[in-house]
Symmetry: C2
Subunit: 382 residues, 2 copies
């Protein structure tokens, strides 16, 4: 959802105009962030010659798909081209198949970007071709499609919740000065973007040190109001959470989840007396078993998790290879060697083993600027 979409290169079938319209369709699709998941964000454009007759995006889960919205707003689209960021579906779900609407409209060419990954939903391109529509697509690479709609493509693979890790760091890789004192390294623009990001996730996860130090509300208080507010998930191996925490005192949205050990779950649940759902997670090493936690969350309907630190939790998630995407907000600040490292995977004086050097991580999404901060997005290579 950031920067320019990547159409993929080296495909002679697309003209410059085709690419431009396809990029615009992808960009329009991004407006569905926070409102359409678990569906993907999709945009569509109807174009005749060089004139854009209409455009739309999938605006709300359960509502019309982008293709249908774009077509239904227009009187006469015969002979026009439909550009869409995802292969039109061929499936009757909450709405009628997009392929039927396209065939009924008189559209003669369809250009689409990403292939539909769902088994039931796919086959749209084939269906349209069999009825004489010129269909160009898919274009680009699965990694590029996944970068645009990561949770959707990840979930389609059936491998548990999609996990993104957000860290705000100084240029020397610190998340806070010594002692973990709370300071804002990043500026207001970055913090606004974090609220926007939150709106697109089912759950926000933080480690114990973070909720103890910051007492965050963990709500999405940005311009995008999420269709379903994300659930707050607090790690609490020692069973220290109290009903005074702001994340547990939220008036609206889903009840927060506190994860603790199987032994501690009963007492903690009693102490929190209905302010939160306490879930039991086995201990692994020094912390809770995070892979197990992800399974628990998935069973509760969570398909995407945004982890907002701190460093210890981040390092554990990275070590266990549970992170699919890293959102790294880099602030123009030097904290110094004594600061709290964002990636505490080594002891002082020690170098990271090859396995933790992130080799294989890819930058598929272009970086962007928020005030004086830079957002770097890294996706784990598969």
């Amino acid at each position: 959802m950031i920067a320019s979409p990547r159409i993929g290169s080296g495909n002679g079938r697309l003209s410059g105009a085709d690419r431009r319209f396809l990029a615009r369709a992808i960009e329009r699709g991004r407006r569905g962030w926070g409102r359409v998941h678990p569906n993907p964000m999709v945009g569509a454009l109807v174009v005749r010659g060089e004139e854009v007759l209409g455009e739309a995006f999938h605006a709300e889960y359960g509502g019309p798909h982008a293709e249908v919205s774009a077509l239904s707003a227009l009187d006469d689209v015969r002979g026009a081209t439909l550009y869409c960021s995802l292969e039109p579906c061929n499936h009757r779900g909450k709405t009628a198949p997009c392929t039927e609407a396209i065939l009924a409209s008189g559209i003669t060419r369809v250009v689409f970007w990403a292939a539909e990954p769902g088994v039931e939903q796919s086959g749209g391109a084939e269906r349209l071709r069999s009825r004489g529509v010129v269909v160009d697509g898919p274009f680009g690479k699965p990694s590029e499609w996944a970068a645009e709609n990561p949770a959707f493509f990840r979930n389609a693979s059936g491998r548990g919740p999609y996990v993104a890790l957000k860290l705000a760091v100084s240029v020397d890789g610190r998340i806070a000065p010594a002692g973990g004192k709370r300071v804002w390294l990043t500026g207001e623009e970055s913090r606004r973007e974090v609220h926007r990001l939150r709106a697109g996730f089912d759950a926000i996860l933080v480690g114990r040190r973070t909720w103890e130090a910051d007492d965050p509300m963990l709500t999405a208080r940005g311009v995008v109001v999420p269709r379903v507010p994300p659930v707050a998930v607090l790690l609490d191996r020692r069973g220290r959470a109290s009903i005074g925490l702001r994340a547990l005192r939220r008036r609206s949205g889903p009840r927060s989840i506190v994860a603790t050990t199987p032994v501690g779950a009963g007492p903690l649940a009693r102490r929190l007396s209905g302010c939160a759902d306490v879930v039991a997670v086995p201990v692994q090493g020094k912390g809770l078993d995070l892979a197990f936690l992800m399974e628990v969350l998935e069973a509760r309907g969570v398909s995407s998790v945004l982890c907002e630190g701190g460093g210890v939790l981040a390092a554990s998630l990275l070590r266990e290879e549970l992170v699919d995407r890293l959102y790294l907000f880099v602030a123009p600040v030097v904290v110094g060697e004594g600061g709290v490292p964002a990636f505490p995977i080594t002891q002082p004086g020690e170098c990271a083993p090859e396995a933790f050097r992130f080799r294989g991580w890819k930058s598929v999404v272009d970086p962007s600027r928020f005030g004086n901060d830079t957002l770097i997005v890294l996706d784990r290579g598969d």
Copy 2:
């Protein structure tokens, strides 16, 4: 010279098309990188209605200015608008004043972005207005103009050479693993960009540890062939440089400079026997007096310096506030706490004093992606 130009906002005099053409003029100007300095990079567009009749950029120092190039390639520009990234000059230097060419052409409107900072060269807008041309400009902020042509605006202020610091770091702010072993953290695309960057600087500066460890050639071996190859400058307080160093064995381009102490200069010059110019620089603290070195370089005609590390030199330059711009290539790699810090301004366990926290540094240029690496450009606020 990176990412999208920033036109500045909130100026009602410019239409959307005006902004687009102005941005395009700025972008075209960037093609002069490495060829025009100490002149600024300038681009110009001639537009009638929505049609671009012609465009040009200042291509070579001493050659025609962008405005004149754009106009002279066209037969009839009467009634057209000229967009240029810098105020047209009103001065007879190596070429005739642009204002004369514009008045002679029949152009009826000029839209320009940055104000001409030179005293002799300025007054172009006024001159055109006095002759009945509609002139819109300048737009945006001096910091934005300076971000596009930093050395030019910096030099116009008469405060010594413009100094950029390039560092390639891991996400945890390291430039190398423990022991300083040479590894490439960044990828090939970043290294190509560094060669392109070098082409736009008068000098490339490195500290002793860097030339000892890497033995770099310090030439610009990229797609841009610099008009004047940058001179290599090696710091050598202990007088250890030898004629075997690759930077001193270059067959072409200017002779390299080795900076050492006043006491060591004589012996070193004899030992290097004409392979390099040895300059004497007083000692300050643990190293050479870098502000003094900059004055020496300026006296030798160097108006811009790209410092490529290592960390110790970088920290000294930052501490002495000699850095105007930071080019930070961030690689998707974690090195670990034992690695060599890019910003060794503190001891282990220590936090940076407020003064070194970079508060006031600004991100004016958008970040860009080179392969899996991200280039963050930070400019010092003045």
